[in-house]
Symmetry: C2
Amino acid sequence: MIGAQAMIRTLVDAGVDVCFTNPGTSEMHFVAALDSVPEMRAVLGLFEGVVTGAADGYARMAGKPAATLLHLGPGLGNGLANLHNARRGRTPVVNIVGDHATYHLEYDAPLTSDIAAAARNVSSWIRRPETAAELCDATADAVAAAMGPPGQVATLILPADASWSDGATPVAPRELVTRRSVDADVLDRVAKVLVSGEPCALLIGGSAMREAGLRAAARISAATGAKLLGETFPARLERGAGLPPIERLGYLSEFMEIQLSGMRHLVIVDTGPPVGFFAYPGKASYLVPDGCEVHVVVDPSDGLDAVGALEQLADVVAAGVDPVVQSLARPERPTGAVNGETVAAALGALLPEGAIVCDEANTSGLWASGATAGSPRHDWLTLTGGAIGVGMPLATGAAVACPDRPVINLEADGSAMYTMQALWTQAREGLDVTTIVFNNRSYAILNMELGRTGAGAGGPKAKSMFDLSNPDLDFVSLSRGMGVPAERATDAAELTVALEKALAEPGPHLIEAILPTVL
Amino acid sequence: MIGAQAMIRTLVDAGVDVCFTNPGTSEMHFVAALDSVPEMRAVLGLFEGVVTGAADGYARMAGKPAATLLHLGPGLGNGLANLHNARRGRTPVVNIVGDHATYHLEYDAPLTSDIAAAARNVSSWIRRPETAAELCDATADAVAAAMGPPGQVATLILPADASWSDGATPVAPRELVTRRSVDADVLDRVAKVLVSGEPCALLIGGSAMREAGLRAAARISAATGAKLLGETFPARLERGAGLPPIERLGYLSEFMEIQLSGMRHLVIVDTGPPVGFFAYPGKASYLVPDGCEVHVVVDPSDGLDAVGALEQLADVVAAGVDPVVQSLARPERPTGAVNGETVAAALGALLPEGAIVCDEANTSGLWASGATAGSPRHDWLTLTGGAIGVGMPLATGAAVACPDRPVINLEADGSAMYTMQALWTQAREGLDVTTIVFNNRSYAILNMELGRTGAGAGGPKAKSMFDLSNPDLDFVSLSRGMGVPAERATDAAELTVALEKALAEPGPHLIEAILPTVL
């Protein structure tokens, strides 16, 4: 069996049965081998950022990795930003990067570059099998490495001759590592802190942002009075009616400081301590208040059992206490102008049960979380690593993972322009994704950050760097150009009707929400 | 003076007065400082691949670098593919990558990553000044490093606090290094080879592909009978009526082998030896025929004076001999079906004097070079590094460098989808770029390469990976969505009229040429 065929068989046997691809000549044997393994689904993206972002969205929802197929160093480069987001979200990805045949490298052909160097930016696991015989062991290892815990981007560099040569045998899946329990004495100490009566916040993230973790954390909060907080940008948050609500830390450090003000203890489970998203002159980077003691129960890199730890803590400090859960409460259908608030209200009014929301609306999306808090149960996926251009690919991958669930992508205009090619994949695969583009003709966040960084009000050249008008982008035209039906909404009632229609019809749709221009 | 302001002043003083930008929060002080240095032009791209490809196109035509402004590791990642092309073309680029403030890195905020690791994929010169005081020395060094010879991508990582802190003073430009002469005994030996009467090819590239190098090489060829060949993918080739024509090595190794067949000597000036673009099972990677002796006069990495070497050789072996030059000869305006040949004929019939052609038409562009060989003098810019997605950004940058020259971008449909956002920058800046998209609804080159690599005919899944229909891309709609007027051409006469009109009007235009579908 040639390497590529055995490799795909190894992937499928390990449960990796979706491959997001943007191949080139060095990947031709992998591509040809797709037909020899019927269980493997191949989904083409027209740009590598689509491929890697879709792999991220897929794994967040499927709970297992997809494979990517990228073309040499430049293909990896194009996929790097969304792999960065996956790294930050600890999403498992089997990142396959095709390379020249091993013997061809010495000739320094035009596409030769240091692939491993670029991969180091996103992967701490990088392997480059040299022969077909080594390939399947490396593949099985890559899947296990990607799965963690914690999840990670495992990069497998695939030389063309390892792919096309005979002599490969599929390898059985590795036994998966389970999350280890947190030490009992750590839990004992933290339980004492929680019941001490001193002001305490319980900050959770990562794997604790799903139902089981949220329920345990909410029980602890209800029993002890600890303030329950969630990380700013979770990979996947389960929320809505019937689940415990959670207040997320704000993006602005000013807001985070208010949320943490007065705390004597900060108990952290499966996320990092609160730090500024960026540095600002004269402002603190580390946002734990003076005099507040930090107690790390689970650091995300440990791969410890965060949910188990929360449940054990709840059993100690909250025996018999139920969590407070969110009741069903939708906003009214909005009327009037289109703006962040009315789009959010439309979303809250209509959000279907089981929806998956991919949120890259940035400043325009400020109200979306609040307006949907009491909507039927749904998942909320955010921009974990700050590398914009994840929203459309993320929605694409989530829809591939969950074909029976509606996906809604809240997308800022600036961010939409990074990886818009995802719309074509949505059309081709008939994915049930409704994209709302918030068109305010601005990098609105930079208009805000210019002042926050103390860089001043900005002269005409500076301001023009945030200005997305001149010419205005026409997202209806862009969307239709990639085969996705689209409508423009200039008032809230029109937007609500368009959203209702898009949700009712199968396949992808795009709604361009024309917001007031941000200057 | 704050670091950013002094840095921009240092750039401008060194002749770097265009900055292609896609900034974020960590670059706000750089952005604000743009207004304090009126000579610096800032050109916004909506995606980093546009920024880096435009910097490549700019420098190829301006003969000096532009600066980029990218946002941390993910921004660099998005720009990496076109920096790869710049690296391969030895284009000078001052690649500025903003980073968190130095003291913020330890907190591992979401956008933190190993920027230098990713930069190593494209830059052998990487510097990260830690303070405002060090910044301008590093900047002046970066410009000099970028300029070479040979040109290169010099990456300057810019911590936000080095940018915003006081205490910086602009630094005067470094003295530029001039190209050293090739040793006289090398030239003596090669002159003897050239006049030996044995079959000899003279293969030139890089800096030798401009008028002076071409004239000297053509004189040598005329006097000695040496077969004159050019590298496959030159960064900038001057050609057309009045200049010596040059046959470029083919992309296919089968073709290259024919071109080099029977040669006893291969004299190489400012390019690498002929090697396969990719490896193919059972085929050679190194394409110098057996028994052919290679004589390297200038290796591109030496930064030696290739043009001077050719002129010295010509003075020895071709004294009094004039080069053969191309006479003016345009094809007729085509009629009939739209295909690679008729689009090429339309281009040859209408190509304006002084045009800059950015060629990323891939398989569809096969006839373009031949049909324009006798058109008025023009420049031809190619995909130097094989990382597709350079054409539209390259045209953008070339048009910024040469506002008085028409730019024509020949663009394959698949490649167009990588960095299409460049159209918006063309519209915003009013650039005189005419883009012809060859829409054959296929990654046609992969359809060809599947067979060439011996991977077989391809089953339905494999073939679907090259299929850009389902849905068809509508480039007219995409172009208009970014503010660039567009027309679709379904017959050759219609295409010719559309091209004539686009060339006559200022500002950007796009023509979608509907070719037969490649299956």
